[in-house]
Protein backbone atom coordinates (compact mmCIF):
# COMPACT_ATOMS: atom_id res chain seq x y z
CA UNK A 1 0.00 0.00 0.00
CA UNK A 2 1.47 3.35 -1.03
CA UNK A 3 1.37 6.25 1.38
CA UNK A 4 -1.18 8.79 0.21
CA UNK A 5 -0.77 11.89 2.39
CA UNK A 6 -3.96 13.90 2.76
CA UNK A 7 -2.22 16.51 4.90
CA UNK A 8 1.47 17.19 5.25
CA UNK A 9 3.25 19.64 7.55
CA UNK A 10 6.85 20.40 6.55
CA UNK A 11 9.10 22.24 9.02
CA UNK A 12 6.10 24.11 10.32
CA UNK A 13 6.62 26.91 12.81
CA UNK A 14 4.08 29.27 14.32
CA UNK A 15 5.18 32.29 16.31
CA UNK A 16 2.68 34.67 17.87
CA UNK A 17 3.78 38.32 17.98
CA UNK A 18 7.36 39.48 17.39
CA UNK A 19 10.33 40.98 19.19
CA UNK A 20 11.08 40.05 22.79
CA UNK A 21 7.40 39.29 23.50
CA UNK A 22 7.13 36.68 20.74
CA UNK A 23 5.71 33.32 21.75
CA UNK A 24 6.64 30.20 19.82
CA UNK A 25 3.63 27.88 19.57
CA UNK A 26 5.12 25.40 17.10
CA UNK A 27 8.59 24.83 15.74
CA UNK A 28 10.03 22.48 13.11
CA UNK A 29 7.00 20.20 13.10
CA UNK A 30 7.06 17.52 10.42
CA UNK A 31 3.97 15.36 10.20
CA UNK A 32 2.00 13.64 7.46
CA UNK A 33 -1.36 11.92 7.82
CA UNK A 34 -2.27 9.50 5.06
CA UNK A 35 -5.60 8.25 3.80
CA UNK A 36 -6.89 5.61 6.21
CA UNK A 37 -4.68 6.81 9.02
CA UNK A 38 -5.66 8.05 12.46
CA UNK A 39 -2.99 10.13 14.16
CA UNK A 40 -3.41 11.37 17.72
CA UNK A 41 -1.61 14.38 19.13
CA UNK A 42 -0.95 14.45 22.87
CA UNK A 43 0.88 16.85 25.12
CA UNK A 44 0.44 19.05 28.17
CA UNK A 45 -1.58 22.27 28.11
CA UNK A 46 0.21 24.91 26.07
CA UNK A 47 2.31 22.38 24.12
CA UNK A 48 0.81 23.55 20.82
CA UNK A 49 -1.76 20.78 20.19
CA UNK A 50 -4.63 23.01 19.13
CA UNK A 51 -2.34 25.31 17.12
CA UNK A 52 -1.10 22.26 15.24
CA UNK A 53 -4.68 21.26 14.41
CA UNK A 54 -5.64 24.78 13.33
CA UNK A 55 -2.57 25.09 11.10
CA UNK A 56 -3.21 21.65 9.55
CA UNK A 57 -6.75 22.66 8.64
CA UNK A 58 -5.97 26.11 7.32
CA UNK A 59 -7.72 27.92 10.19
CA UNK A 60 -4.36 29.44 11.13
CA UNK A 61 -1.30 30.04 8.98
CA UNK A 62 2.24 28.96 9.88
CA UNK A 63 4.92 31.64 10.15
CA UNK A 64 7.45 29.24 8.62
CA UNK A 65 7.36 25.97 6.74
CA UNK A 66 4.53 24.68 4.59
CA UNK A 67 1.18 22.91 4.97
CA UNK A 68 -0.10 20.84 2.04
CA UNK A 69 -3.70 19.53 1.94
CA UNK A 70 -4.69 17.24 -0.94
CA UNK A 71 -1.58 18.32 -2.87
CA UNK A 72 -2.36 22.03 -2.51
CA UNK A 73 0.07 24.20 -0.55
CA UNK A 74 -1.90 26.43 1.81
CA UNK A 75 0.89 28.84 2.53
CA UNK A 76 0.39 31.34 -0.26
CA UNK A 77 -3.21 30.49 -1.05
CA UNK A 78 -5.47 33.58 -1.21
CA UNK A 79 -8.04 33.69 1.61
CA UNK A 80 -10.98 32.94 -0.69
CA UNK A 81 -9.38 29.83 -2.16
CA UNK A 82 -8.25 28.69 1.27
CA UNK A 83 -11.84 28.92 2.53
CA UNK A 84 -13.09 26.96 -0.48
CA UNK A 85 -10.49 24.23 0.06
CA UNK A 86 -11.42 23.99 3.74
CA UNK A 87 -15.09 23.62 2.92
CA UNK A 88 -14.45 21.00 0.28
CA UNK A 89 -11.90 18.82 2.04
CA UNK A 90 -11.79 19.47 5.77
CA UNK A 91 -14.25 18.52 8.52
CA UNK A 92 -13.83 19.93 12.03
CA UNK A 93 -15.06 18.50 15.31
CA UNK A 94 -14.57 20.61 18.41
CA UNK A 95 -15.20 20.06 22.07
CA UNK A 96 -17.78 22.85 22.07
CA UNK A 97 -20.34 21.34 19.81
CA UNK A 98 -21.63 24.61 18.35
CA UNK A 99 -24.93 23.05 17.33
CA UNK A 100 -27.61 25.64 16.62
CA UNK A 101 -30.29 25.07 19.28
CA UNK A 102 -33.21 26.24 17.14
CA UNK A 103 -32.42 23.76 14.35
CA UNK A 104 -33.08 20.01 14.36
CA UNK A 105 -30.21 17.52 14.15
CA UNK A 106 -30.90 17.10 10.45
CA UNK A 107 -30.98 20.86 9.84
CA UNK A 108 -27.75 21.32 11.78
CA UNK A 109 -26.01 18.89 9.43
CA UNK A 110 -27.75 20.19 6.28
CA UNK A 111 -27.19 23.91 6.79
CA UNK A 112 -23.39 24.04 6.33
CA UNK A 113 -23.71 22.00 3.15
CA UNK A 114 -26.27 24.45 1.79
CA UNK A 115 -23.95 27.31 2.69
CA UNK A 116 -21.30 25.50 0.66
CA UNK A 117 -23.59 26.00 -2.33
CA UNK A 118 -25.00 22.48 -2.53
CA UNK A 119 -28.65 22.16 -3.62
CA UNK A 120 -31.05 21.70 -0.71
CA UNK A 121 -32.22 18.25 -1.82
CA UNK A 122 -28.66 16.95 -2.18
CA UNK A 123 -27.54 18.52 1.08
CA UNK A 124 -30.49 16.92 2.87
CA UNK A 125 -29.83 13.53 1.33
CA UNK A 126 -26.14 13.68 2.32
CA UNK A 127 -27.14 14.75 5.83
CA UNK A 128 -29.58 11.86 6.21
CA UNK A 129 -26.95 9.40 4.99
CA UNK A 130 -24.31 10.59 7.41
CA UNK A 131 -26.77 10.73 10.33
CA UNK A 132 -27.62 7.10 9.59
CA UNK A 133 -23.88 6.32 9.50
CA UNK A 134 -23.45 7.68 13.03
CA UNK A 135 -26.57 5.81 14.19
CA UNK A 136 -28.87 8.81 14.59
CA UNK A 137 -31.46 8.27 11.86
CA UNK A 138 -34.20 8.04 14.51
CA UNK A 139 -33.47 11.39 16.14
CA UNK A 140 -32.86 13.39 12.95
CA UNK A 141 -35.92 15.57 13.60
CA UNK A 142 -35.16 16.31 17.23
CA UNK A 143 -33.63 19.50 18.56
CA UNK A 144 -30.24 19.48 20.33
CA UNK A 145 -31.79 19.84 23.79
CA UNK A 146 -33.99 16.80 23.13
CA UNK A 147 -31.08 14.37 22.71
CA UNK A 148 -28.25 13.17 24.98
CA UNK A 149 -24.77 14.71 25.17
CA UNK A 150 -23.30 11.74 23.33
CA UNK A 151 -25.92 12.06 20.59
CA UNK A 152 -25.21 15.79 20.28
CA UNK A 153 -21.54 15.08 19.81
CA UNK A 154 -22.41 12.51 17.15
CA UNK A 155 -24.47 15.16 15.34
CA UNK A 156 -21.42 17.44 15.42
CA UNK A 157 -19.34 14.59 13.97
CA UNK A 158 -21.96 13.90 11.30
CA UNK A 159 -21.75 17.57 10.36
CA UNK A 160 -17.98 17.29 10.00
CA UNK A 161 -18.26 14.10 7.94
CA UNK A 162 -21.01 15.23 5.55
CA UNK A 163 -19.89 15.40 1.94
CA UNK A 164 -16.74 13.72 0.79
CA UNK A 165 -14.24 15.29 3.13
CA UNK A 166 -11.09 13.25 3.45
CA UNK A 167 -9.46 15.24 6.24
CA UNK A 168 -11.13 15.19 9.66
CA UNK A 169 -9.68 17.33 12.44
CA UNK A 170 -10.97 16.64 15.92
CA UNK A 171 -10.03 18.75 18.96
CA UNK A 172 -10.92 16.95 22.21
CA UNK A 173 -14.07 15.51 20.60
CA UNK A 174 -14.84 13.36 23.63
CA UNK A 175 -15.03 16.43 25.88
CA UNK A 176 -16.81 15.60 29.11
CA UNK A 177 -18.44 12.40 27.83
CA UNK A 178 -18.32 9.23 29.96
CA UNK A 179 -15.92 6.54 28.75
CA UNK A 180 -18.36 4.22 26.90
CA UNK A 181 -19.82 7.25 25.05
CA UNK A 182 -16.33 8.57 24.34
CA UNK A 183 -15.37 5.14 22.99
CA UNK A 184 -18.37 5.32 20.63
CA UNK A 185 -17.10 8.64 19.27
CA UNK A 186 -13.69 7.10 18.61
CA UNK A 187 -15.38 4.11 17.00
CA UNK A 188 -17.03 6.53 14.52
CA UNK A 189 -13.81 8.37 13.74
CA UNK A 190 -12.00 5.06 13.36
CA UNK A 191 -14.68 3.75 10.97
CA UNK A 192 -14.40 6.86 8.79
CA UNK A 193 -10.66 6.40 8.82
CA UNK A 194 -10.92 2.76 7.78
CA UNK A 195 -13.14 3.97 4.91
CA UNK A 196 -10.25 6.10 3.64
CA UNK A 197 -10.27 9.41 5.53
CA UNK A 198 -7.28 10.92 7.30
CA UNK A 199 -8.04 11.84 10.91
CA UNK A 200 -5.96 14.08 13.14
CA UNK A 201 -7.14 13.89 16.74
CA UNK A 202 -6.05 16.13 19.59
CA UNK A 203 -6.69 14.62 23.00
CA UNK A 204 -5.24 14.62 26.49
CA UNK A 205 -6.86 11.24 27.22
CA UNK A 206 -4.49 8.29 26.67
CA UNK A 207 -7.43 5.89 26.29
CA UNK A 208 -8.69 7.75 23.20
CA UNK A 209 -5.23 8.37 21.76
CA UNK A 210 -4.75 4.60 21.85
CA UNK A 211 -7.24 4.21 18.99
CA UNK A 212 -4.71 5.88 16.70
CA UNK A 213 -2.22 4.27 14.34
CA UNK A 214 0.36 6.77 15.53
CA UNK A 215 0.53 8.94 18.63
CA UNK A 216 2.60 12.12 18.44
CA UNK A 217 3.74 13.69 21.71
CA UNK A 218 4.18 17.45 21.59
CA UNK A 219 6.37 19.28 24.05
CA UNK A 220 6.87 23.07 23.88
CA UNK A 221 5.70 23.12 20.29
CA UNK A 222 8.03 20.36 19.13
CA UNK A 223 7.41 16.71 18.39
CA UNK A 224 9.03 14.95 21.36
CA UNK A 225 8.29 11.36 20.38
CA UNK A 226 6.01 9.13 18.33
CA UNK A 227 4.41 5.81 19.30
CA UNK A 228 3.34 3.65 16.38
CA UNK A 229 1.03 0.68 16.77
CA UNK A 230 2.32 -2.57 15.33
CA UNK A 231 1.01 -3.19 11.80
CA UNK A 232 -0.68 -6.45 12.78
CA UNK A 233 -3.48 -6.42 15.30
CA UNK A 234 -2.72 -7.88 18.70
CA UNK A 235 -4.85 -10.96 18.12
Amino acid sequence: MSFDPVVRLADVGRVHGDGPGAVTALSEVNLAVGAGELVAVMGPSGSGKSTLLNVAGGLDRPTSGDVVVEDVSLTRLPAGELAALRRRHVGYVFQDLNLIPSLTALENVTLPRELDGIRFRDARRQALEVLAEVGLAEVADRFPDEISGGQRQRVAIARALAGERRLILADEPTGALDTPTGDEILQLLRARCDAGAAVLLVTHEPRYAAWADRVVFLRDGRVADTAAAPMESAR
Binding site: P206, V215, A224, A229, P230, S233, A234, R235
Partner: protein
Protein backbone atom coordinates in the same frame (compact mmCIF):
# COMPACT_ATOMS: atom_id res chain seq x y z
CA UNK B 1 -5.15 -17.48 43.98
CA UNK B 2 -8.41 -17.03 42.15
CA UNK B 3 -8.15 -20.18 40.02
CA UNK B 4 -10.03 -22.13 42.72
CA UNK B 5 -12.86 -19.66 42.90
CA UNK B 6 -12.87 -19.18 39.15
CA UNK B 7 -13.40 -22.91 38.59
CA UNK B 8 -16.17 -22.92 41.22
CA UNK B 9 -17.89 -20.05 39.38
CA UNK B 10 -17.77 -22.00 36.11
CA UNK B 11 -19.08 -25.15 37.83
CA UNK B 12 -21.96 -23.16 39.33
CA UNK B 13 -23.46 -23.13 35.82
CA UNK B 14 -23.54 -26.92 35.73
CA UNK B 15 -21.26 -29.98 35.83
CA UNK B 16 -18.13 -29.77 33.64
CA UNK B 17 -15.18 -31.86 32.51
CA UNK B 18 -11.67 -30.59 33.30
CA UNK B 19 -10.86 -29.73 29.69
CA UNK B 20 -14.13 -27.77 29.45
CA UNK B 21 -13.21 -25.78 32.56
CA UNK B 22 -9.87 -24.87 31.06
CA UNK B 23 -11.42 -23.64 27.79
CA UNK B 24 -14.15 -21.67 29.56
CA UNK B 25 -11.71 -20.11 32.02
CA UNK B 26 -9.57 -18.82 29.16
CA UNK B 27 -12.58 -17.60 27.19
CA UNK B 28 -13.88 -15.65 30.20
CA UNK B 29 -10.58 -13.94 30.88
CA UNK B 30 -9.83 -13.09 27.26
CA UNK B 31 -6.90 -15.51 27.20
CA UNK B 32 -5.04 -13.07 29.48
CA UNK B 33 -4.67 -15.84 32.03
CA UNK B 34 -3.76 -19.07 30.28
CA UNK B 35 -4.10 -22.23 32.38
CA UNK B 36 -2.49 -25.54 31.62
CA UNK B 37 -4.56 -28.66 32.06
CA UNK B 38 -2.30 -29.82 34.92
CA UNK B 39 -3.21 -26.70 36.94
CA UNK B 40 -6.88 -27.45 36.35
CA UNK B 41 -6.67 -31.04 37.62
CA UNK B 42 -4.45 -30.11 40.58
CA UNK B 43 -6.93 -27.43 41.58
CA UNK B 44 -9.90 -29.78 41.11
CA UNK B 45 -8.34 -32.41 43.36
CA UNK B 46 -7.76 -29.78 46.08
CA UNK B 47 -11.34 -28.56 45.71
CA UNK B 48 -12.48 -32.20 46.03
CA UNK B 49 -10.31 -32.66 49.15
CA UNK B 50 -11.92 -29.55 50.68
CA UNK B 51 -15.42 -30.79 49.85
CA UNK B 52 -16.18 -27.94 47.43
CA UNK B 53 -16.64 -30.12 44.34
CA UNK B 54 -17.68 -33.76 43.86
CA UNK B 55 -16.42 -36.00 41.03
CA UNK B 56 -18.82 -38.25 39.12
CA UNK B 57 -18.16 -41.69 37.66
CA UNK B 58 -15.47 -42.07 34.98
CA UNK B 59 -16.97 -42.39 31.52
CA UNK B 60 -15.68 -44.94 28.98
CA UNK B 61 -13.02 -42.48 27.81
CA UNK B 62 -11.76 -42.10 31.37
CA UNK B 63 -13.17 -38.58 31.77
CA UNK B 64 -14.70 -37.35 35.00
CA UNK B 65 -17.46 -34.78 35.35
CA UNK B 66 -17.18 -32.46 38.37
CA UNK B 67 -20.16 -30.96 40.20
CA UNK B 68 -20.14 -28.05 42.65
CA UNK B 69 -21.28 -28.84 46.23
CA UNK B 70 -23.29 -26.64 48.61
CA UNK B 71 -20.04 -25.78 50.41
CA UNK B 72 -18.58 -24.88 47.00
CA UNK B 73 -21.46 -22.50 46.29
CA UNK B 74 -20.95 -20.87 49.70
CA UNK B 75 -17.23 -20.44 48.96
CA UNK B 76 -18.03 -18.84 45.62
CA UNK B 77 -20.53 -16.45 47.26
CA UNK B 78 -17.94 -15.54 49.90
CA UNK B 79 -15.43 -14.78 47.10
CA UNK B 80 -17.86 -12.56 45.20
CA UNK B 81 -18.79 -10.81 48.46
CA UNK B 82 -15.23 -10.02 49.58
CA UNK B 83 -13.30 -7.05 48.12
CA UNK B 84 -9.85 -7.81 46.74
CA UNK B 85 -6.96 -6.32 48.71
CA UNK B 86 -4.54 -4.04 46.91
CA UNK B 87 -1.79 -6.61 46.55
CA UNK B 88 1.79 -6.14 45.45
CA UNK B 89 1.68 -4.71 41.95
CA UNK B 90 4.10 -5.95 39.28
CA UNK B 91 4.49 -2.36 38.03
CA UNK B 92 6.45 -1.44 41.13
CA UNK B 93 9.66 -1.66 39.13
CA UNK B 94 8.70 1.50 37.26
CA UNK B 95 7.95 3.37 40.49
CA UNK B 96 11.28 2.29 41.97
CA UNK B 97 13.13 3.12 38.75
CA UNK B 98 11.82 6.70 38.70
CA UNK B 99 12.38 7.20 42.42
CA UNK B 100 15.96 5.94 42.07
CA UNK B 101 16.55 8.12 38.99
CA UNK B 102 15.44 11.20 40.95
CA UNK B 103 17.60 10.23 43.92
CA UNK B 104 20.61 9.55 41.71
CA UNK B 105 20.23 12.96 40.04
CA UNK B 106 19.71 11.46 36.58
CA UNK B 107 17.71 13.33 33.93
CA UNK B 108 14.29 11.79 34.52
CA UNK B 109 12.56 13.35 31.52
CA UNK B 110 13.87 10.94 28.86
CA UNK B 111 13.04 8.00 31.17
CA UNK B 112 9.47 9.24 31.51
CA UNK B 113 9.18 9.90 27.78
CA UNK B 114 10.50 6.44 26.83
CA UNK B 115 8.09 4.81 29.28
CA UNK B 116 5.19 6.90 28.00
CA UNK B 117 5.86 5.83 24.42
CA UNK B 118 6.12 2.16 25.45
CA UNK B 119 2.96 2.29 27.57
CA UNK B 120 1.09 3.99 24.72
CA UNK B 121 2.15 1.12 22.47
CA UNK B 122 0.63 -1.30 24.99
CA UNK B 123 -2.53 0.77 25.17
CA UNK B 124 -2.81 0.78 21.37
CA UNK B 125 -2.44 -3.01 21.28
CA UNK B 126 -5.06 -3.49 23.99
CA UNK B 127 -7.46 -1.13 22.23
CA UNK B 128 -7.11 -3.12 19.02
CA UNK B 129 -7.66 -6.39 20.84
CA UNK B 130 -10.79 -4.99 22.44
CA UNK B 131 -12.18 -3.85 19.10
CA UNK B 132 -11.61 -7.37 17.80
CA UNK B 133 -13.34 -8.94 20.85
CA UNK B 134 -16.18 -6.46 21.27
CA UNK B 135 -18.97 -9.05 21.38
CA UNK B 136 -17.87 -11.11 24.38
CA UNK B 137 -18.72 -9.13 27.52
CA UNK B 138 -16.38 -11.07 29.86
CA UNK B 139 -13.37 -10.67 27.58
CA UNK B 140 -14.26 -7.06 26.98
CA UNK B 141 -14.26 -6.31 30.71
CA UNK B 142 -10.89 -7.99 31.18
CA UNK B 143 -9.37 -5.93 28.35
CA UNK B 144 -11.08 -2.78 29.70
CA UNK B 145 -9.40 -3.41 33.04
CA UNK B 146 -5.98 -3.63 31.40
CA UNK B 147 -6.76 -0.48 29.40
CA UNK B 148 -7.67 1.43 32.57
CA UNK B 149 -4.44 0.26 34.23
CA UNK B 150 -2.29 1.37 31.29
CA UNK B 151 -4.20 4.65 31.23
CA UNK B 152 -3.52 5.16 34.94
CA UNK B 153 0.17 4.62 34.31
CA UNK B 154 0.13 7.25 31.53
CA UNK B 155 -1.58 9.73 33.85
CA UNK B 156 0.88 9.00 36.60
CA UNK B 157 3.80 9.61 34.19
CA UNK B 158 2.26 12.98 33.18
CA UNK B 159 1.91 13.76 36.87
CA UNK B 160 5.56 12.85 37.58
CA UNK B 161 6.71 15.08 34.77
CA UNK B 162 4.63 18.03 35.99
CA UNK B 163 5.77 17.57 39.61
CA UNK B 164 9.44 17.31 38.62
CA UNK B 165 9.20 20.33 36.30
CA UNK B 166 7.82 22.39 39.20
CA UNK B 167 10.35 21.14 41.75
CA UNK B 168 13.28 23.56 42.35
CA UNK B 169 15.43 20.62 43.39
CA UNK B 170 15.25 18.84 40.03
CA UNK B 171 15.45 22.11 38.09
CA UNK B 172 18.75 22.94 39.77
CA UNK B 173 20.17 19.57 38.80
CA UNK B 174 19.13 19.93 35.19
CA UNK B 175 20.33 23.53 34.86
Amino acid sequence: MAIRQGLLALLSRGPRYGYQLRAEFEASTGATWPLNIGQVYTTLSRLERDGLVAPGEQDDQGRVVYTITEAGRAEMARWFGTPVAQADRPRDELVIKLAMAVTAGADVRPIIQAQRTATMGTLQRLTRARRANAEDPAQRLVLDSMIFQAEAEQRWLDHCEAVLAASPQTQERQA
